[in-house]
């Protein structure tokens, strides 16, 4: 390590890895809560290092590169591993280690008395290490190491309670769907190498400049990266794994499946922003995938009755918002929403965990209600999170979502690909977001209690180790919004911070009154969604919602808009059938065919008699004769030559 304090942040993933090793190898001998403390300290120390690096870096332009070691050394493909610390990676590191440390601490309470306590923290630390590698990588190859690494950790944590078959199925599904995305990542790297001759992120980004706007190769790379991002960030059509991933422990859902890993796709596109800024086609594809996902997932969220699945679909929908942002070229805005979302969605999941914890494992919102008065801290922080994601002014989600809407409205990069339609779709999705989140909050925390007597009697506020992280996250769900106030009238820190590391894309600058109008529309969207929710659930006592719950549309929504059934019938079934057929063909037709061909040649009969007289000895003899014959023939040939 050098004397530069920024480079010390390169130790953050090593610390997390060390924590994972300690808990993985010695965890069984450590008494609770020691594994949790070890893990939390490992991540917390990483946060301190990241924070120091972040402030030390402020005001600088050049990225700090920390070389690790040579990895590939083949003529023409030489690649050393290294960490690239710049504005974007440092910001991501703060989120990962900051939110991560809070979730680690919370987990000490949540996982109390679980037989796999140490194993849990080993996995969680390993995840943080892989996620840090992903965002700190200076090459796509090292990024892929983290990319697959977080996938493996996600797999392990979804199946953490592995004795239950449904958890295992959910984990397998997540891993396999992610592998499809990973294949896209691999192909993107191969095509990058073919096009630029390097996999170094900075070198690739610099080389893109030599290509014409809209060049075919760049678009192809962009689309392949989109495949990768779609898998990891659970966008349509590869989103189906995320709702099932809720089978994992709830803090895992908060950390991996809300705040960090699933945002990796957004990070990837922001990192590769020069590629996308050069290809309006690829950018439009990103934006439309995001818009479709935002809308459909919001619709499905209305029909869910599981406290976590509502949030899962909400995450998919919010990631869709981020995809639209990177798609229209507003890279810093996407990262802004990524940061605010990390806080309020982690908060909402931890709130859900607190509720599940208090209710002894109950997850169905139809058997909740009225918990706000009995769990004051959980209820209050839940309200903050709900208002933040709904887009209520002065809270974080409002500023970041409004920024996405405004930039979509004024995009030039995708203006030929229906920028106004994108805006309209997002606006509707924003109204729906406020609506389903009100429904979620109301059914859990307000109204009459619908708990069974036994559960009702046992309801309690969670211990301090869990509520303190909730409060910290709630504060973050308000304050992070002020990192990016509307730029037309207020200071906007995050845009300036990320400007040096993201591609510059031009946006039209509408008249000031239009800017204010757009802001007002965003406020109205949140108000409309919350108002509709209030009307439906409070004034009508949920009556319209009850009607909604039985219709065909609701059933469609509950089934996740039919994607799972479609894949089962159109993809999984036929693929399994083909695989089964191939294995039969290989064994019973090809193999047997080869064998009978040989029999026909008469060779088989002769060898069969041989083996009855001591097969191996006979063969050994034949071999010896063969070698002798070879030598003889060689001698003869050699003499004649």
């Amino acid at each position: 390590m050098t004397q530069d304090v920024v480079s010390w942040a390169a130790l953050a993933p090593a610390l997390a890895l060390l924590g994972a090793l300690v808990n993985g190898l010695l965890g069984a001998r450590l008494r609770e809560p020691l594994p949790g403390i070890v893990a939390s300290v490992a991540v917390g120390a990483g946060f301190v290092l990241s924070l120091v690096a972040f402030f030390a870096f402020a005001g600088r332009g050049e990225a700090v590169v920390v070389p690790l070691w040579d990895y590939l050394a083949v003529s023409g493909v030489e690649l050393a591993l290294g960490f690239h610390l710049d504005q974007l990676s440092l910001l991501m590191m703060l989120v990962i280690t900051g939110v991560g440390a809070l979730i680690h601490v919370y987990s000490i309470g949540y996982m109390h008395a679980d037989s796999g306590f140490a194993r849990y923290f080993a996995y969680l630390n390993l995840f943080v290490a892989a996620m840090l590698v992903l965002v700190m990588a200076d090459s796509y190859l090292l990024m892929f190491v983290g990319w697959e690494g977080v996938g493996v950790c996600s797999y392990l944590l979804i199946a953490f309670w592995f004795k239950q078959g449904t958890n295992v199925d959910a984990a397998r599904k997540a891993y396999i769907v992610n592998r499809i995305g990973d294949a896209g990542f691999l192909l993107a790297m191969f095509l990058m190498f073919r096009t630029f001759g390097t996999l170094d992120v900075a070198a690739v980004n610099a080389a893109v400049g030599a290509f014409a706007f809209g060049a075919g190769a760049i678009t192809a790379i962009g689309l392949l990266l989109l495949v990768a991002a779609t898998g990891k960030s659970a966008q349509i059509p590869l989103h189906v794994w995320l709702p099932d991933a809720m089978a994992g422990p709830t803090p895992v859902s908060a950390l991996i499946h809300a705040a960090t890993m699933v945002t990796a796709g957004v990070y990837l596109i922001a990192r590769a922003s020069p590629i996308f800024a050069t290809s309006p086609e690829a950018s439009a594809a990103v934006a439309w995938v995001g818009a479709a996902t935002a809308l459909i997932a919001a619709f499905v969220a209305f029909a869910q009755t599981d406290i976590k699945r509502v949030l899962a679909y909400s995450t998919i929908s919010q990631l869709g918002f981020m995809f639209v942002a990177v798609g229209v070229g507003a890279y810093s805005v996407a990262v802004f929403h990524l940061v605010t979302h990390a806080f309020f969605k982690a908060l909402l999941f931890l709130v859900a965990g607190s509720v599940i914890h208090a209710l002894g494992g109950e997850q169905d919102v139809r058997r909740m209600g009225g918990l706000g008065t009995r769990m004051r801290i959980t209820g209050t922080t839940a309200l903050v999170g709900t208002l933040a994601i709904a887009g209520v002014p002065l809270l974080a989600g409002f500023f970041s979502k409004d920024a996405i809407l405004v930039h979509t409205f004024s995009s030039t990069l995708v203006e030929d690909y229906g920028a106004y339609f994108l805006y309209a779709v997002l606006l509707v999705s924003a109204v729906m977001t406020a609506g389903y989140m009100f429904r979620w909050y109301y059914t859990v925390f307000c109204g009459a209690e619908r708990l069974s007597k036994a559960t009702g009697a046992a309801v309690h506020e969670s211990p301090r180790v869990m509520t303190v992280p909730l409060v910290v996250l709630a504060v973050g769900s308000v304050l992070t919004g002020y990192l990016g106030l509307p730029a037309f009238a207020f200071p906007n820190w995050i845009e300036g911070w990320l400007a040096p590391v993201t591609a510059a894309v031009t946006f039209t600058h509408p008249a000031l009154w239009i800017e204010w109008l757009l802001l007002l529309v965003s406020v109205l969207a949140a108000a409309l969604g919350l108002g509709l929710g209030y009307w439906a659930y409070h004034l009508q006592k949920g009556a319209p919602a009850a009607r909604l719950g039985v219709g065909r549309l609701a059933a469609f929504g509950r089934s996740g808009a039919g994607f799972d059934a479609l894949y089962r019938n159109a993809v999984v079934g036929p693929t399994e059938g083909t695989a089964g057929a191939l294995s039969i063909v290989d064994r019973d037709i090809l193999d047997r065919g080869m064998a009978s061909g040989v029999t026909a040649a008469g060779l088989l009969a002769r060898v069969t008699t041989l083996w009855q007289s001591g097969f191996v000895r006979a063969y050994a003899l034949a071999m010896l004769c063969g070698v002798v014959a070879l030598v003889l023939v060689v001698v003869v040939a050699g003499v004649r030559a």
């Binding site: 990895y71 590939l72 891993y175 396999i176 790297m189 191969f190 050994a620 071999m623 063969g626």
Partner: protein
């Protein structure tokens, strides 16, 4: 001297083992394994041995451990040590003979990796077949006869093609000897038709031992019917040397032949990778599943070689070494599972992670290394092989990458069926001796995954010969169809 010691020591141990019994045999095997490994570990820095053998016809006893073969010999030896230990533990019936066969294979493998004379290479290639056949014949399962027959027929057919090629190549090229350097100096001057025929001759032999579709069926039965300890399967895994034969002999010696034939083989390799991985997703017998998974890896090796790109060539050899560790490790693990439940039917298992967490952790690591998770052994080679293939043919690259997805499927299916879900019967966790057996596998899995640069540089130096041959071969105008047909008559 070191190559001679590394070769002679296992031969000596094998012979002595035949004459010993009981504790003495066990002690001898363990000491011999350590000794051979230490000798092999010194190979990369050693100097070559070249002594005239059959001087009249230019056959030399030439061994060189400083190149790609040396690296493969070291890794193979690293895998052999735990295999010998595991054999001592698990093979109860005539263990001294089984161990003798194992050491004989070890010697044969070192010989064929180090041989720098084509005839010597051929001799080791053939001789190594005997102990592997003996293990199947003497310790295999009930249907071993069919498996043996198949194995033998494929091997003989391949060997015959190679024998003809070996016989033909020196007179045709007019080389001074069968030494690699002498052949290299002359064979590239052969015309395209001769090169194609010779190359096809090599390919027939090497394709069987790679193996790739459609000459792979012996591999499946071979693994399914071998001794349940898995030790013979490890040796068989190390003996999948067709890729090495292509890398070290066929591709550098016959650049023109290679450039004409490899585009078709590239597609065949990509197909093999995908085909085998897809079939692996539906296997319920653990050894058959591993056999198909292993076949899929060989498809990756093949695309890396046949793409004729420097990255793919070096990567495929790195993958060949890595899969010795990972596939070998998985076969050892399969033997440990069999020791607990006496079956390879994976549907009979379930939930073992609860009672055997250490076994589960090692399995997870080695299995995920096998399916190409980055940071672990198979990834660097697999990545470079696919990268090289993609540069040669986008279609083949995409086809082979499909196998990466299928590998994810069989990987999590296998782990899920064995270690997750409800646990009908608990099993014992790893015993100390099993930890000792698996420790080198685990360490090598991590080491090969994290620090590939050194070995890759070594492989790269040798792959450059092929690449230079290609650039020279492509310089003159490619042969047109008329000369091809004329010469065929």
């Amino acid at each position: 001297m070191i190559p001679m010691i590394a070769l002679a020591l296992p031969v000596l141990v094998a012979l002595l083992l035949l004459a010993t019994r009981g504790a003495l045999a066990r002690g001898l095997a363990l000491a011999g394994a350590m000794g051979t490994f230490l000798a092999a570990a010194l190979l990369p820095g050693s100097s070559a041995v070249v002594v005239p053998w059959i001087a009249g016809i230019g056959v030399y006893f030439a061994l060189d451990g400083s190149g790609a073969g040396g690296f493969l010999a070291v890794v193979a030896s690293l895998v052999m040590v735990p295999t010998v230990v595991w054999t001592v533990v698990r093979v109860g019936e005539r263990p001294h003979q089984f161990l003798a066969a194992l050491f004989a294979m070890w010697a044969g493998l070192i010989g064929l990796f180090l041989a720098r004379d084509l005839v010597l290479f051929y001799v080791f290639w053939e001789v190594t077949l005997l102990p592997s056949l003996a293990m199947l014949a003497g310790w295999g399962l009930a249907q071993r006869r069919q498996a043996m027959l198949k194995y033998l027929l494929y091997a003989i057919a391949g060997s015959f093609a190679m024998l003809l090629t070996v016989l033909a190549i020196r007179p045709l090229a007019g080389a001074e000897s069968y030494l690699f350097a002498d052949l290299l100096a002359t064979t590239s001057a052969l015309d395209s038709v001769q090169q194609v025929w010779l190359f096809v001759g090599f390919v027939l032999a090497f394709a069987v031992k790679l193996p790739i579709f459609p000459v792979h069926h012996w591999l499946i039965d071979f693994h399914e019917q071998n001794h349940p300890s898995g030790a013979a399967d490890v040796a068989g895994t190390l003996y999948k040397v067709g890729g090495f034969g292509l890398f070290a002999w066929a591709l550098p010696l016959l650049p023109l032949g290679a450039s004409i034939v490899t585009p078709y083989l590239l597609l065949l390799g990509a197909f093999t990778a995908l085909y085998a991985a897809v079939i692996a997703t539906r296997q319920t017998n653990l050894k058959r599943l591993l056999a198909y998974a292993s076949l899929s890896h060989m498809g990756f090796v093949a695309v890396g070689l046949f793409g004729l790109h420097i990255a793919g060539l070096s990567g495929s050899m790195y993958l060949l070494a890595a899969q010795m560790v990972t596939t070998g490790g998985l076969f050892l693990l399969s033997g440990m599972l069999h020791a607990r439940r006496a079956t390879f039917d994976i549907t009979a298992y379930g939930g073992l992670a609860a009672s055997a967490p250490a076994l589960a952790a090692v399995m997870l690591l080695v299995l995920f290394a096998g399916i190409g998770v980055p940071g672990l052994a198979n990834f660097p080679g697999e990545f470079l092989a696919l990268l090289g293939a993609f540069q040669a043919s986008v279609f083949a690259g995409v086809l082979a990458v499909g196998a990466v997805i299928a590998a994810g499927v069989y990987g999590v299916n296998l782990y899920g069926r064995l270690f997750q879900g409800p646990q009908p019967n608990p099993v014992a966790d790893l015993r100390p001796v099993e930890i000792a057996v698996l420790a080198p596998i685990v360490l090598a899995t991590l080491w090969l995954g994290l620090f590939p640069a050194g070995p890759l540089a070594l492989l790269d130096a040798e792959a450059t010969i092929t690449i230079e041959g290609q650039s020279l071969a492509s310089d003159p105008a490619p042969p047109d169809a008329s000369t091809l047909q004329g010469a065929r008559r």
